[in-house]
């Protein structure tokens, strides 16, 4: 295994889904359900059984809109406010209307959701305004349940193939993708009538404080290929300057899960044991307060459960240590920390792109369509803000159904064969050198520069320095990066995506000359939010080889936001502390 082999195979299908994590399986499954004659291929860099952000499962739904507890109108309003008004509401509203059906479908797959003694969904309040959090008692079975459905629907699965570029047809439509086998370096060309990208967050952008390249908040397989491939295919990317930064357990770098602990009375506190924010729902505004507290004389920040009854604290500990990131228990055991006894030190994550948590993603409309015909995106990499796991499932379903219909109407778009040989040459270049720099060192350097220069607070002159340094690293990557086997080849291709994402993060952030979304886009030299010039999307795209940004108007709201509601997420700091 891992020895490089020459090879090029070609397959044809109606619909290609790239990424077998959360959105991808649902897209492929729904496409086959809607059109059982369609040939659907699901391509995955790892193994569909255990890939993506939820490889071990998830402990609950963060954004369930369930009749009797909340309404699609309420949810759309809340997300619009949490995302500082920069929301095309149609996509959020559509999600909110469809997600209950998805919950019922997941329930049929055998994934259980918590119910109260009357058999009603036991929804908890964590957000500032509405009630949307629903625990999943057997959340560790999600991937298995999905896999069963994929087998039943006879989706064709190709594991250990990493897509590196999309193919664009002569008429400008998505025509498929080129992929490379991560264990042999052999190529696979997949011709398709429509393509859905579900390739996750750009989670390997910033460097975690531990310095361990793979100790990231996101699953490190999610290294931003989706963003990079969409960019190179000419799709537009929205609001990349709205970084993902999350609160987490320091060093372990996994979520602190106020969503799990909050409903039981747990909260985020400073070193004086004081609560300093009213609402633990993750938003840029909340993160700004978190950051301020970390830097203040009352820092650092802790997850506080030790005031709760021991049974309650132990119960929370049990949930946190068994589902989403089960190795957390080992981490605390080694440190000798018990939730019922000590407060747990927290920190903020490295930066990344992820619309699952914030709003940085490939621009999509309410049918998950990107700006390239026949190309769809869903999940963490698509621009529907704050959409989390349930958003990935729901928007994946929407994408699958729309794309399979689209594919039924069109023929395969012809593409230029030269694109394939050019891509093979680009991908294999690091394998042709017997002397050079290994990908891990180039990656470390990029991500160290991201931390030094791109992490908020964002300073214009620092950003420009970073761009110059990243250009030097790009030169090194293009001329000296060396891969000795197929595994290192996969890592080299990931490095190329990470560098593209770093460039995009810098470019988009410099363009938006204001501060917005709290910590996510805090520009110290433009500290104010400027609604008259910037209450708009920033779209980034590749225009004839030049990275370019433009403004795009926010679509007229479907659900109006009253003047006195729009700042609700800025009123989170507890002023009179006991």
């Amino acid at each position: 295994m891992d020895d490089l082999r020459a090879g090029l195979n070609e397959v044809e299908c109606d619909l290609l889904v790239i990424g077998g994590g959360t959105a991808g399986p649902m897209a492929a499954y729904r496409a086959r359900k809607k059109n059982p004659n369609a040939k659907v291929i699901l391509l995955e860099k790892a193994n569909v059984k255990r890939s993506g952000a939820i490889s071990m499962g998830m402990d609950g739904l963060n954004n369930a809109v369930i009749p009797g507890h909340s309404t699609p109108e309420q949810y759309t309003k809340e997300i619009t406010i949490a995302n500082d008004g920069i929301v095309d509401q149609a996509a959020v509203y559509k999600y909110a209307q469809n997600c209950y059906g998805i919950i019922e479908e997941l329930d049929q797959f055998g994934i259980r959701f918590q119910k109260d003694e009357n058999g009603e969904y036991d929804v908890k309040k964590v957000h500032h305004m509405g009630t949307y959090v629903l625990p999943m008692p057997n959340g560790d079975t999600v991937k298995k349940a999905l896999y069963r459905q994929l087998r039943r629907a006879r989706v064709l699965i190709s594991n250990r193939y990493m897509a590196t570029r999309l193919l664009t047809g002569k008429s400008g439509r998505a025509a498929g993708a080129i992929a490379v086998n991560t264990r042999s370096g052999e190529f696979l060309v997949i011709k398709a009538k429509a393509v859905i990208m579900c390739m996750g967050a750009a989670g390997r952008l910033g460097l975690p404080t531990s310095g361990y390249l793979y100790g990231t908040y996101e699953n490190p397989t999610n290294s931003g290929e989706g963003y990079s491939m969409a960019y190179h295919a000419g799709a537009k990317l929205a609001n990349l300057e709205c970084f993902q930064i999350n609160p987490l357990i320091k060093d372990y770098n996994g979520p602190a899960c106020a969503y799990v602990a909050g409903p039981f009375g747990g909260y985020t506190a400073n070193s004086k044991n004081e609560r300093f924010i009213e609402c633990d729902y993750w938003s840029g505004q909340m993160m700004q307060e978190f950051y301020n507290e970390l830097q203040s004389g009352k820092g650092p920040v802790f997850l506080k459960l030790n005031h709760l009854h021991k049974d309650t604290a132990d119960h929370i500990e049990h949930i946190l240590h068994t589902v989403e990131r089960p190795s957390r228990g080992r981490f605390h055991e080694q440190r000798g920390t018990k939730y019922s006894e000590q407060m747990i030190e927290m920190h903020i994550s490295e930066i990344g792109f992820c619309s699952g948590h914030s709003a940085s993603g490939v621009y999509v409309d309410e049918f998950a369509r990107t700006t390239v015909p026949g190309l769809y995106a869903a999940g963490d990499m698509a621009s529907v803000p704050h959409n989390y796991m349930l958003g990935a499932f729901t928007n994946g379903a929407i994408a699958g159904e729309h794309a399979v219909d689209f594919a039924a109407e069109v023929d395969h778009d012809e593409f230029d064969d030269a694109a394939i040989s050019m891509e093979q040459e680009r991908v294999l270049a690091p394998t042709k050198r017997d002397d050079g720099i290994p990908p891990n060192q180039i990656e470390y350097k990029i991500r160290r520069l991201v931390n030094d220069y791109l992490q908020p607070p964002k300073v214009t002159a620092k950003y420009e320095l970073c761009q110059a340094r990243l250009a030097e690293v790009r030169e090194d990557m293009n001329t000296q990066m060396m891969a000795r086997d197929a595994h290192e080849l996969m890592r080299s291709m990931e490095v190329a995506s990470i560098l593209d994402c770093a460039d995009m993060a810098a470019h988009a952030s410099l363009y938006r000359a204001e501060s917005r979304w709290g910590l996510y886009h805090w520009r110290s030299d433009y500290p104010d939010t400027n609604d008259s010039d910037w209450k708009c999307h920033v779209l980034l795209s590749n225009q004839d080889g030049v990275m370019t940004c433009e403004k795009k108007e926010v679509a007229p709201y479907i659900i109006p936001i009253a003047e006195d509601e729009k700042d609700a997420y800025y009123k989170q700091r507890i002023t009179a502390q006991a």
Binding site: A46, Y212, Q334, R335
Partner: protein, 77 residues
């Protein structure tokens, strides 16, 4: 520029007495999202080849003989 061998301690440990890779099992290698486990040509048992682990645990959870232990990578511990 020559390449050096810098040692690194890896977080995943396989109990070779329990591992049945020599009987054809490759479960942990198959499921690992980061693709960092391999079967050794020398011992016929699974081992961690690349220090690129997310301490996510599918390898441990899915191993049929409980041979795998995932520790927290030293830099984070």
């Amino acid at each position: 520029m020559p390449i050096a061998n810098t040692p690194t301690t890896v977080p995943v440990v396989v109990d070779e007495g329990k591992c049945i890779a020599d009987k054809g099992c490759t479960v942990c290698v198959d499921v690992c999202p980061l693709d960092v486990l391999r079967i050794s040509d020398l011992t016929g048992k699974a081992y961690m080849k690349y220090d690129e682990c997310w301490y996510c645990m599918p390898c441990e959870a899915d191993c049929p003989t409980d041979a795998v232990t995932v520790n927290i990578p030293y830099l984070l511990r």
